[in-house]
């Protein structure tokens, strides 16, 4: 059965209105006969039929406007001419009209709503190279005053700030600094939430053996050398990272760049509010005693505001512990450009069954926030399991 379609009568025609039929059902038609008149934007046009036979059925009434390609009539072809049946174009469907010729331009994509500026922070007026250097040096641009045109912060401004910063802390009044820090942390956290697809995992780790070992160990140590359990957690995380390098590094300019060294950033809350996460360099290669000393030193200098800029810029992963604040599990926000964050909650007594016996064990909840662009839950789970295993042999840490 041949189909008589609303023809394409011009490069920019998408639909046509049937004015009148010149034949009716049952009439015989020859190839080339004019069997209908169609109105287009330009003019009324006589439409020829391309097959020879009798009109089986008229489908469209005069006055109807239909898209190009719509089947308007069915023609029962009689003894096909020698050249054979013109196979109807394969994609022809029975009833529905063929797609219009000029594809409508796709509806404009909903303009992604630009996220509100982080916490109402005023947009910084800073040159791209200055912004990049500030980021590299871990200096918060909000703390620099610009000398460029329109008080734009220039490269030289950042370089000058970097020198003075490491020499002595810029004498910024305490409150003002905390407010600025809150602003900077807010901006970083907002960006992290916006850009990094986080996934979260948690597990409970039996700390009994580690804490027992710690108590024994501290008996042998003088007061100044005593270890806090946090150090064991840090060392376990650092050692576990050796087996899961993808969690240890950055995600910059669209691609993951794992880092060879393990510098665990430790989240330290500052008196009077604010938080910094400076790095313990080569955490995995320090012994527990040495790690304890650098940890104590880091906390004191963080709180005194005399951290070195490299310590701020270097962490390849961050560990945060809110156990003392009574929090059982913490699902933190990754510090960009890092790709993972480990959280520890408080140590609690909890009934644990092993080999059919239920005993009270002291356990801690360890959590992992991971960047799904870089790693997935499967690897994250194996990492937490490795941390747990390491904590079962505290003497090996």
């Amino acid at each position: 059965m041949a189909k008589f379609l609303m023809p394409q009568l011009g490069a920019d025609m998408s639909a046509g209105k049937l004015l009148q039929w010149r034949k009716k059902a049952g009439d015989r038609v020859q190839r080339g006969d004019i069997i209908a008149d169609v109105e287009t934007d330009k003019a009324d046009i006589e439409v020829e039929v391309f097959s020879t036979g009798t009109i089986e059925k008229i489908l469209i009434r005069p006055g109807e406007k239909v898209p190009v390609g719509t089947v308007m009539a069915l023609i029962r072809e009689e003894g096909k001419p020698a050249i054979g049946e013109v196979s109807p174009p394969p994609r022809e469907r029975a009833a529905p009209p063929a797609p219009t010729v000029t594809a409508q331009p796709p509806p404009p994509r909903a303009v992604p709503s630009t996220p509100a500026a982080a916490a109402g922070a005023p947009r910084l007026h800073i040159s791209p190279v200055a912004k990049k250097l500030a980021a590299d040096l871990g200096i918060d641009p909000a703390t620099i005053s610009g000398t460029g045109p329109g008080s734009r912060i220039t490269l030289e401004d950042v370089q000058r700030a970097a020198q003075t910063r490491t020499a002595k802390p810029s004498p910024v009044p305490e409150m003002d600094r905390a407010a600025r820090m809150r602003q900077a942390i807010g901006a970083a956290m907002a960006r992290s939430k916006r850009e990094i697809p986080h996934y979260y995992l948690s597990t409970t780790i039996d700390m009994s053996r580690a804490l027992a070992w710690l108590a024994q160990e501290n008996l042998k140590r003088s007061v100044e050398d005593r270890l806090v359990y946090g150090v064991l957690l840090l060392k376990a995380v650092a050692l576990a990272l050796r087996q899961f390098p993808e969690l240890n590094g950055f995600f910059v300019e669209g691609k993951a760049t794992p880092k060879p060294d393990v510098h665990v950033g430790v989240a330290i809350s500052l008196r009077g509010g604010g938080l910094v996460a400076p790095a313990l360099h080569n955490t995995d290669r320090q012994g527990l005693g040495e790690l304890m000393r650098s940890f104590r030193d880091l906390v004191q200098r963080a709180r005194a505001g005399t951290l070195r800029s490299s310590e701020l810029g270097d962490p390849t992963i961050t560990v945060t512990s809110l156990g003392e604040q009574g929090v059982e599990a913490v699902f933190g926000v990754i510090y960009p450009p890092q790709v993972a964050l480990v959280g520890f909650g408080k140590i609690v007594e909890s009934p644990r069954a092993s080999e059919g016996q239920v005993t009270a064990r002291r356990v801690i909840t360890a959590t992992l926030s991971g960047d799904h662009r870089v790693s997935d839950g499967h690897r994250g789970g194996l990492f937490l399991a490795a941390v747990e295993r390491l904590l079962q042999e505290p003497d090996q840490l």
Binding site: Q8, A11, K42, D44, I45, P89
Partner: protein, 332 residues
């Protein structure tokens, strides 16, 4: 140099006559199928049909050898077929396929075939004439035994490039046969409404070119006149302008509602359909019997049908090759 006597009819041998008839029929059926494919949205953009002018295209092409160069216009399907380009690569080109004669880059208005020195269709009216001058200049400077056939329509005579090219060709005695296919209309504007001097062949005299006009509906007359023009040019006497007076039975293009001429005028010209005229003459000369026609029709039909299948089945050019044939790129 008086105009050659075009009334003398050569003694026509049967094989050549049937060949001419078959070539015109190939063009006619190809164009009808192209119109159908356009209405089925297989062919897009512009499509200019040659129905009615077949005698000019086929007749004139007989005067050119394989070594000669041919320059055509956007109404070029007939010229391409008459020049020997297979129907399937032309249909594939209009389907935008990689197997098309221009890899799907040119479409209906831009067929090219370097192996047959078919230097293509030009969409800018008159754009081909300077190119033809250059091709002839190159042949002449390299002492190649070749001339250039340059087809163009009556619309082109209004373009500066027509006058510049004819003058340059005459000045430098370039071996070109300028073939004006005067179909009486420059798109929607009749000849007398776009030319002060409507006898186009006379325009050549202002540049010192010999010229003549011929009935573009008589395939034999066109062949004879073109051969005489070509012989003149091959003799190193410079260019020649031959005006073929013909008519197109269809609108300028598929987008043209064809309102600028009356139905009666079209019907009148259809009475001199070049294929019907030639069929009748051959029967009159006893060179054609009614039973000869059917096999020709089915042979031509099969060729056109195969062209459609080839075009449908052909692949599209991969996007990775987008910049492949673009010159001036930085060195990879």
């Amino acid at each position: 140099m008086s105009a050659p006597d075009i009334s003398a009819r050569p003694l026509v041998d049967r094989d050549h006559a049937v060949f001419l008839l078959r070539e015109m029929l190939r063009i006619r059926r190809f164009e009808e199928k192209a119109a159908e494919m356009y209405s089925l949205q297989k062919i897009h953009g512009f499509l200019h049909l040659y129905i009615g002018e077949e005698a000019t295209g086929v007749g004139a092409m007989q005067a050119f050898t394989q070594q000669d160069a041919i320059v055509a216009t956007y109404r070029e399907h007939g010229h391409a077929l008459a020049r020997g380009m297979p129907a399937n690569v032309l249909m594939a080109e209009m389907f935008g396929k990689a197997t098309g004669c221009s890899h799907g880059h040119g479409g209906s208005m831009h067929f090219f075939d370097a192996s047959r020195r078919f230097y293509g269709g030009y969409a800018i009216v008159g754009g081909g004439l300077p190119i033809a001058a250059g091709l002839a200049l190159a042949d002449k400077m390299q002492k190649r035994q070749a001339i250039t056939g340059c087809y163009f329509g009556d619309g082109a005579v209004a373009e500066g490039e027509f006058h510049e090219s004819l003058n340059l060709a005459a000045l430098w005695k370039l071996p070109i046969v300028f073939l004006c296919e005067n179909n009486l209309y420059a798109m929607g504007t009749a000849l007398e409404r776009h030319q002060a001097q409507t006898d186009i062949s006379r325009k050549a005299s202002s540049y010192g070119l010999p010229s003549s006009a011929v009935d573009g509906m008589d395939v034999l007359a066109v062949e004879v006149s073109t051969r005489q023009a070509a012989d003149f040019v091959r003799g190193g006497n410079g260019p020649y302008l031959l005006e073929c007076r013909t008519y197109r039975f269809r609108a300028h293009s598929m987008s043209d509602p064809d309102l600028y001429r009356t139905k009666e005028e079209i019907e009148n010209w259809k009475k001199r359909d070049p294929i019907m005229l030639f069929e009748a003459k051959l029967r009159e000369l006893g060179l054609l019997t009614p039973s000869d026609l059917a096999p020709i029709e089915s042979e031509v039909g099969a060729e056109i049908e195969e062209a459609i299948r080839f075009a449908e089945a052909s692949p599209r050019e991969p996007i990775e090759d987008l910049l492949k044939d673009v010159g001036g790129q930085p060195a990879r």
